[in-house]
């Protein structure tokens, strides 16, 4: 359908096109960049048909050369998010205490008498959660199909509001309790107010890139912490496993909701730019080049976009569908961001028209990852550090497993060049390594440490 590697690698979308004429048009408008990308071959000297073939080779080379850089651009924020979650879990005991409260989407309790009953309850919980996510995704697809962008925007805005003010207030309160810091309400109000407002501005409007990235990482960490606290033990692991399977199906099956969403977005040639996708570079002149060339662009977003010089990649406040399913769900804050993650992931990957300005170097092209992925990776590592008796060994093992899964996912993306979900490989590795390290490696390493043997 379209090339998803565009968004993880520096292959410019205009080169990766199924339509030769479209490519030709793009080469005319951005000649300097095309010269850079095509290794100095004059773009006009080649007929469109040949372009498609030679594109492949050059794409491959660029892919490999810059793929590593983009993998690292994803490693760093994912690592930071995990570090924040693990640091919080280890120091603030609030997030590991089970108060007996559960989310309304996991109604069955796990403190039952028999193991069988517990297993059944947790499976039902996971089933309900996935069902809710499926319904939410379908609602989202319907809303998107019927162009109810305002609804989605508003939804997003309010869920962000909740997260940035309410959850961070709770977090700050718990941190103060842990370290026994006395704080008056006035100072607290000022701090939270500033934090929240700056966050809303950075995420929904314009702001410095690093600040925006920091806010996205912080809110992903907050969501992951909420999940770690409110999901009971077995339910959490089952949900992680189920979400990976759901993700796989939703993205790869022809009738999967995410695939439909992606295809719709591609048809409209819209840059569905959710307010909450982590982007490693600034996206400039969003959709400008496309809107000038492609006739089938929806008229609604075009004129407004040309006036916007996005300083942050999420500068899509009022015009086209700059929604994130992520926030759709997070607004309810019990719904799995999985839904959002997949959607946002698809949205990253379906940015065929997101194009940097001609002066931008290939290496400046950024890479994007949905916040749902951040949330689930951090949730897995956070749970590993919270509940594993192997303690740090398990945490480190899960961390490495997730990073390697992410690396493999990006590699597969470069090879297959089609929509691939980011959750399954990493979560599978993470789960395998969690259970294996906790049950097999931990006793071995403990025995070695007791005797001070080294391997």
């Amino acid at each position: 359908v379209f090339d998803l590697s565009q968004h993880f690698l520096s292959v410019p979308p205009c080169l990766r096109s199924n339509d030769g004429t479209e490519v030709n048009r793009h080469t005319e408008t951005t000649p300097s960049r095309n010269e850079v990308e095509l290794n100095g071959q004059p773009p006009t000297a080649r007929p469109p048909q040949v372009l498609t073939d030679s594109e492949e080779d050059e794409d491959e080379e660029l892919t490999l050369k810059y793929g590593a850089k983009h993998v690292i651009m994803l490693f760093v924020p994912v690592t930071l998010c995990m570090v924040v979650v693990v640091a919080t879990i280890k120091s603030v005991s609030f997030y590991t205490q089970k108060d007996g409260q559960q989310l309304i989407y996991t109604p069955f309790r796990e403190d039952t008498e028999t193991v069988g009953q517990r297993a059944l309850n947790s499976m039902l919980n996971a089933f309900i959660m996935i069902g809710v996510i499926l319904v939410m995704t379908l609602v989202l697809v319907v809303l998107y199909k019927y162009r109810c962008y305002k609804v989605i925007q508003a939804w997003l805005f309010f869920s962000n509001l909740l997260l940035l003010f309410f959850f961070s207030l709770i977090y700050l309160g718990e941190v103060f309790k842990t370290y026994n810091v006395a704080m008056d309400y006035f100072t607290l109000a000022v701090i939270i107010w500033n934090f929240g407002v700056v966050g809303m501005i950075c995420i929904h409007w314009k702001g410095p890139l690093r600040l925006q990235q920091a806010y996205l990482i912080m809110i992903s960490a907050l969501m992951a912490l909420v999940f770690i606290k409110y999901l009971p033990e077995w339910t959490a692991w089952l949900i992680l496993a189920a979400i990976s399977v759901y993700d796989l199906l939703a993205v790869l099956c022809p009738k999967g909701p995410l695939r439909i969403l992606v295809e719709t977005a591609q048809e409209r040639n819209e840059t569905i730019f959710p307010a909450l996708i982590y982007s490693s570079t600034v996206v400039w002149l969003f959709n400008m080049a496309d809107s000038a060339e492609t006739g089938n662009n929806s008229s609604h977003p075009v004129p407004q976009q040309e006036n916007q010089v996005a300083m942050a990649p999420t500068a899509q406040p009022e015009d086209d569908g700059g929604f994130t399913p992520a926030w759709v769900n997070q607004q309810q804050h019990q719904l799995g961001p999985m839904q959002s993650s997949e959607d946002s992931r698809r949205e990253i990957q379906e940015l065929p028209s997101a194009r940097p300005p001609p002066v931008e170097d290939d290496e400046e092209r950024g890479v994007k990852l949905g916040l749902g992925d951040f949330i689930f990776y951090s949730m897995l590592v956070g749970k590993a550090s919270a509940t594993a008796s192997g303690d740090w060994n398990t945490t480190i093992a899960c961390f490495v497993a997730i990073l390697i899964g992410l690396c493999l996912t990006l590699l597969l993306l470069a090879i297959f060049k089609k929509a691939l979900p980011a959750l399954p490989i990493s979560i599978t590795f993470g789960l395998v390594f969690y259970f294996a390290t906790d049950n097999l490696v931990r006793p071995f390493m403990d025995q070695l440490a007791v005797h001070q043997f080294y391997i």
């Binding site: 390493m445 025995q447 043997f453 391997i455």
Partner: protein, 258 residues
């Protein structure tokens, strides 16, 4: 006391390795990826060896302490052999990947040489090995607690830190020598690496008599350091030129005046 011990032992154990990472690896994304992949390979080898050990423990007599120690020794030896096997496996994988990269890229040179890969993969193995050996001990050293209250050795933390430092650096040197010997088909060198790894692991069986384990380990560390230096293309002449700031190639490459 406890925080001081924690920081001291952390810096002893991980200081040189982190410095190496920061100065030589952190800037190049390809190297970071291969470092993490190396760590992953070590982890998988550990997983397999602990699986085997776990199975043997389950079918053995759990009450007999000597049998358990014997099984543990067996586990250690098996783990060492599996680590080296996975190092070889990683070498083969890297060779294949490098060939693929070379075939696809239009440039004549590979983006990363096999020697750099040897260094990076060795360090990856070392990081993971060191982390698994010592991180739990470090977190316990934050306290509260008393070391050796039941007559156990007093110098548990600091000896662990030094041993971990040696192991991390050794993995790096073993990686360099291993890959070089695979490249040159020098199987005796390969065997020597495996044997030295076994020796280093086996001398830890005499712990807590740290003089019996730490001293041989550090001797082997220096020998391997010199060997790895020679494998990487170093020589006494190079060393002298470098230390007296007269190495013209190095100075030119770093744009410094002679």
């Amino acid at each position: 006391m406890t925080v001081a011990v924690f920081f001291g032992c952390t810096f002893i154990a991980f200081g040189p390795a982190v410095a190496l990472f920061v100065f030589t690896i952190a800037r190049d994304p390809l190297r970071v990826i291969f470092l993490i992949a190396g760590a992953f390979f070590w982890l998988v080898s550990l997983l397999l060896s602990s699986l085997v050990w776990f199975i043997t423990v389950q079918i053995s007599n759990k009450n007999s302490a000597t049998q358990q120690t014997g099984l543990l020794i067996f586990g250690v030896v098996l783990s060492v052999l599996l680590q080296e096997a996975f190092r070889y496996g990683y070498y083969r994988l890297l060779k294949k990947a490098n060939e693929g990269l070379l075939a696809l890229s239009q440039e004549d040179t590979m983006p990363i040489s096999i020697r750099q890969l040897a260094y990076v993969s060795g360090l990856g193995f070392g990081f993971m090995s060191g982390a698994f050996s010592v991180v739990n001990i470090l977190s316990d050293s934050l306290g509260p607690g008393t070391v050796g209250i039941h007559g156990d050795p007093q110098h548990y933390f600091i000896s662990s830190a030094f041993m971990t430092l040696a192991i991390i650096l050794l993995h790096m040197f073993w990686g360099v020598v291993f890959f070089e010997s695979c490249e040159r088909q020098r199987w005796w060198a390969l065997g020597a690496v495996v044997i030295s790894h076994l020796v280093v692991s086996c001398v830890t069986f005499v712990n807590p008599h740290y003089q019996g384990s730490l001293i041989p380990t550090y001797i082997i560390l220096s020998i391997m350091a010199a060997w790895a230096y020679l494998c990487a293309g170093g020589s006494l002449r190079n060393l002298k030129l470098c230390l007296t700031c007269k190495d013209k190639d190095f100075l030119l490459a770093n744009h410094r005046p002679r």
